[in-house]
Amino acid sequence: MGNRYLEIFCREAEEHLASLQSGLLVLEKNPARTELLHELLRNAHTLKGSARMVGLADISAITHTMEELLKGMEQGLRRVDAGTIDLLLKGADAVALITSALMRGVPPDIDVERFVAEYERGESGRLLPAEPLEAKAEGAVADTVRADVKTLDNLVNLVGEMIINRKRLEAKLDGLKELCYELPPEKAAPFTAFRGELEEDILYLGFLIQDLHEKAMGLRMLPLKTISDGLERLVRDLSLQLSREVQFEIEGQGIEMDRVLLDGLKPILIHLLTNALSHGIEPPEAREKAGKPRRGSVLLSARHEGNSVLVEVRDDGRGMDPAAIKAAAVSRGVIEAREAEGLTDEEALYLTFRPGFSTAEIVTDISGRGVGMDVVKKNIERVKGNVTLSSETGRFTRVTLQLPLTLSVLDALIITCGDETFAVPATYLQEILKVRPSEITTMGTDEVIKVRGATTPLYSLAGMLGLPARRDAGDAPLPVLVLKHCDQRIACIVESHVGYSEVVVKGLGKQFGTVRYLFGATIMGDGNPALILNVPDLFQPGGGAPRAVLSPEEEAAARRRPKVLVVDDSITTRTMEQSILAGQGYHVVTAVSGEDAMEKSAAESFDLIISDVEMPGMNGFELTRLLRASETYQETPIIIVSSLSRDEDKRQALQAGAQAYIVKGAFDQGLLLETVQMLIG
């Protein structure tokens, strides 16, 4: 998970550790005050749950042992004595040590693995340094400074303004050149000389700005390694859970990308790796039978290509079977049988991206089923990326993501269309053609052209955008852009293309939400804005490309943002769930307890409720029952997210009226999202 969650976790852990410490010390002096145990138990339990959420298995293991010790004391199975309390305090110390090391981004000062092992056996941690908390705080001052992310973003924005300004200066320089031409030669000479000097100055300024821009962007760039560490863990845990033997390798960990992009990439990679393990790699016996090594291989690699980064996930598993995919797509109503027949094997692979292709019959905690590839595709579109699939049945599956290095500056082709100027991000551009009207043929009501032998639908960009279009009669060649997105290609007639340019991406301001066809705007050399097209929208239903059309009800539902109530006493869990859901456009309200949730759910209505089980006061099962008894929430889907993983707990959740049960241990955001999407779309 992202560093942000770690930070939140560390802050939350501090609170729980402080209250554990003070509670334990009081208990040590007054062993009779067993009423304190309940609160201590809750502290340990919440810590455990949150640690699992952010994938800190060591802390989760330590706090688990602590929880067991406390439980033993509460149930009277264990004496409340100095030895046990000491053990508990040592546990709290170790957790404090690990979190403080995490905060500082350095390895903890103890052999965590050995400590965990010894701690589980009940040996008090003799590995702990004497002064765990204060010992390292006075460490040498590193030659780095901490900068607020906002400050960095501001810096990059300001540099963006400078780039725009340089362009304006360049435009002025051109204007000066024209003026010089108009002067009689004898008067022009000094101006021309002056212009030449100015040109040099502006050129130098340009170099400086370029350099500054690279440095400023560099500050925002982080290596892939920052997110890939957690992935090894994920693969390891999943392969154990699924009984697969897997060799996981990562290449290109040093490739750097914009922080924002990395945040967007992580859930995508989790999805893809989960898919590779649960659908790709076969069980060891099946692999042996097929004459493959028992151990499957999963490779995550990253490399630069031009101005983008290619990230690939490849597994040598069973591959994707085009025939099976077609059959599944037809049976799930994604496409018509006749349409399916016409698809090539390669095209069939992309059916998995269609909404509705992944269906889940049951919702349980582990994702041993079709993780929604349409969600992956949506996420990739959000970061302006492109995805390609290739596979050979029985041999391999490879998913390639093409991502820009950053989202704040894009390489774009500047075009004019409908009397306006637009920037088309170069990632989506396959080629630029000149097409004579006589080369255009009609198929039904649609116009098509041949691009390298492939029949490609042809549209007028102005027509798609609802702008005034004009097409001159005669056989003058028309400028046509061939755009690609996943496996699809479309050709768009534009008025003209002006050339490639690096454009600074600006938001449209708060008056604008997500506007169809638009990714943002940039400011051109003349000071006027130009809109940046969001190319995937051109491929969407209604945008012209042949695609399944949503029913009016589906469209109405899509327009409304569903509201979700997240109930959890742990701030880590709350924040994570909130940001996962908000990132997908859900409107999220949080509640810190069952009581709080009852109040909030009475004040406004929600489409879905996600609740923890163990909370101070009313627990999640009680909350579910109360909600089910109320008139407004009789039918509202409720998801229980808990660190309790026994079947008994799941059964209780379902009896209380919950629709789904997700265990925090196996928590991945894809699963939560998918469950939510399945329940409320």
Binding site: T421, G466, G513, R561
Partner: protein
Amino acid sequence: MATGNDNGYDIRSILNQMREEYWEALSEEESEAKQMLECLVFTLGGERYAFETHFACEVIRIPKLIRVPAVQSLVTGIFNLRGDITAAIDIRPMLGLAQPELGPTGRILVVRGDLFSTGILVEAAHGVQPLDLEQFETATAGLSAERKQFIRGHFNLEEGAILLLDMEALLAAPELLVGEA
């Protein structure tokens, strides 16, 4: 790690507050003499309208407006306001007014709402005038429902009436928001 400093001591906000108190005190003194409302006056659909100056950021000539495809017609286009992309909106249909073409006297009034700044296209701007509240009538009888929604009343002046726009209601109107939230 970002450190929140919400309850910290912030000289800028204190200065702002002092300045606001100063202006409030000034306007109170003035209001004792005569109840005046500082308004920006302009022409919309051939009629004279006004709103309180505190909503206005600036008045500019209409720059080149870039059309935004596939959005409501209210949004005439966007323009560059010193580096910020800002929408230019034609609110005349919201008020049920005719839309005579914007000539050389046309202006954009940049106004700031709680959430966003936006540019209102007007046929002409006549500057800031203190308007006498004695002459203000809240009566909106005779106005169509759509106009009532955004008009608080009118000033009966010798040279003709000036309608007072309810800027708060106007800026909060959902019609102004573009695209999905």
